[in-house]
């Protein structure tokens, strides 16, 4: 609902003009020298649509997997009791800040052992591993914040653990789960280093590596890099616009908190 009135809207509008300037610069730079030819070159390079599809597959799979495993585990660490609960939670959290350089060689070795080279799995599993600790942290916290009475009431009703999770707790952490989904989506969509290293076949490459194709040693064609970026980000922006309406339709409205 609307909270503040005209004056603050005007301020936001003025600031938005400043915010938009770099985007205009991006557009302007993407048209330099070759004009629309830059876009043609990107499309001609081939594989823009393919890479968008690849990005979508990789990202959606990762997001779904991360939300799935972290809501399960978050619930358990928050609401269930079992031996070594705190210790194992702490251990899982150590994955939060895994140093970037530390993972490359081990992941390469793992991919080689599992034979996943050049398939989606070569990056999906590493992404899940990299991004789930944060999801776990956020979701466990969300479950912690739920009022105990809810569970006590359901227990009196004879609810078992799965019902507690599925019907009592889960619906109430949708905002947190959406945050985890959004963060994981963004992290995965833009990730290019692992994709560059592990996905050599253009048929499976995601869209994040496309700008790099225009970056060779002596010949950095910046306008084309910008054109590639614009083209590759367009679908996500459109997605955002579309989902915004659903956001506003109360998809994320909590249970009258």
């Amino acid at each position: 609902m609307k909270i503040l009135g005209r004056p603050s809207l005007l301020i936001a509008l003025t600031l938005a003009i400043v915010w938009a300037l770099p985007l205009l610069s991006l557009l302007n730079n993407s048209l330099k020298r070759d004009g629309l030819g830059n876009y043609a070159a990107v499309v001609q390079q081939g594989g823009v649509v393919t890479s968008l599809v690849n990005s979508a597959i990789i990202t959606v799979t990762t997001v779904v997997a991360v939300v799935f495993i972290t809501s399960l585990a978050g619930f358990a660490f928050s609401r269930l009791r079992f031996p070594l609960r705190s210790v194992s939670y702490g251990v899982l959290l150590t994955g939060l800040m895994l140093p970037a350089g530390a993972i490359l060689v081990p992941f390469a070795q793992l991919n080689r052992s599992f034979g996943w080279g050049n398939t989606y799995l070569a990056v999906i599993f590493p992404y899940i591993a990299l991004f789930f600790p944060l999801g776990l942290l956020l979701l466990k916290n969300a479950f912690d914040n739920l009022p105990d009475e809810l569970f006590e009431a359901a227990a009196l009703d004879g609810a078992g653990v799965w019902r507690m999770f599925r019907s009592v707790a889960l619906p109430l952490v949708v905002p947190a789960a959406s945050l985890v989904a959004l963060w994981t989506f963004l992290s995965t969509w833009n990730e290019f280093l692992l994709a560059l290293l592990f996905l050599n076949d253009p048929a499976v490459q995601p869209v994040s590596v496309i700008p790099l194709r225009f970056q060779q040693q002596y010949f950095v064609d910046v306008p084309k890099i910008f054109a590639a970026l614009l083209l590759s980000q367009l679908p996500v922006v459109i997605l955002y616009i579309v989902t915004q309406r659903r956001f506003n339709l109360g998809l994320l409205a909590g249970a009258g908190k």
Partner: protein, 300 residues
Amino acid sequence: MSIATARRRPDWRRSPAAILFILPCVAVFGVFLAYPLIRNAYVGLFEWNGLTSDTVWVGLENFIWVFTSPAVFGTAVNTLVFGVITIALQMGGGFLLAVALSGPGRLRQVLRTLYFIPVVMTPVVVGFLFGKILEPNDGDLRNLLDAIGLGALNHAWLADPSTALVAVALVNVWLWVGFAMSVYQSALTTVPKELIEAARIDGARSHQLVTQVLLPFLRPTHWALLTLSVIGTLKTFDIVYVLTRGGPSGSTELPTTLLFRTGFEEYQQGRAAALGTVIFLVALALTIIQLRVARKGDER
């Protein structure tokens, strides 16, 4: 007679199914994270160029370097400055924008989308973009300033050690404000209308509504965003590397850029691994502190 002793109902909280709930996470961790983490700490104990089997045991020497090196200390200071600017502006700005743009209407929707667009852009390319914009001889910013008669303000933002860090932080804010805004925006949809109406009826002015009603209400959101932002800040690499490579003169050197150079240009993989391990421990400590503080806040 209390309910607990009246019937021996199986405690759902001690359900043996718990292990199934945590199994996927544990499995992923065990296979993909445990080995890299341990290996990284282990590599930190050697002098190694990252390639050959020529390794020299140096014990804690690399770790001592991490704690005594002025270069590393510099990155800690930079992280603090960079982090404070980024997090404060991003969260504060995100919150205010979410509030200002809350509500229906085309204009609000367009503006929200506009602020969100940078969030989905690849940091590497944003780095290229701002590198071009901030170029003092022929960049867009300079041309704009000249056009509106403020040419005197032109400065070599990224080349001057005293302005580079702030410049990079501001670019980072441009990149991320939309994310905080989006998060606050959806959190705001959970605010009950009655709460706002009641406050207005009580005579609350707008700024009081914002600071005394909305701000406290969204505490869980603040916490979640703060956690994400701290971790995000510690992991920042691409945007800084492309904009400044950690220069000039280390004024924008973050632990991640130093780590990159130590490992890949100096071929000192052992030192890099030690640095990485320390960064990771610091991040872990920060997160745990945040958890404790949040819990205390809840118990008040």
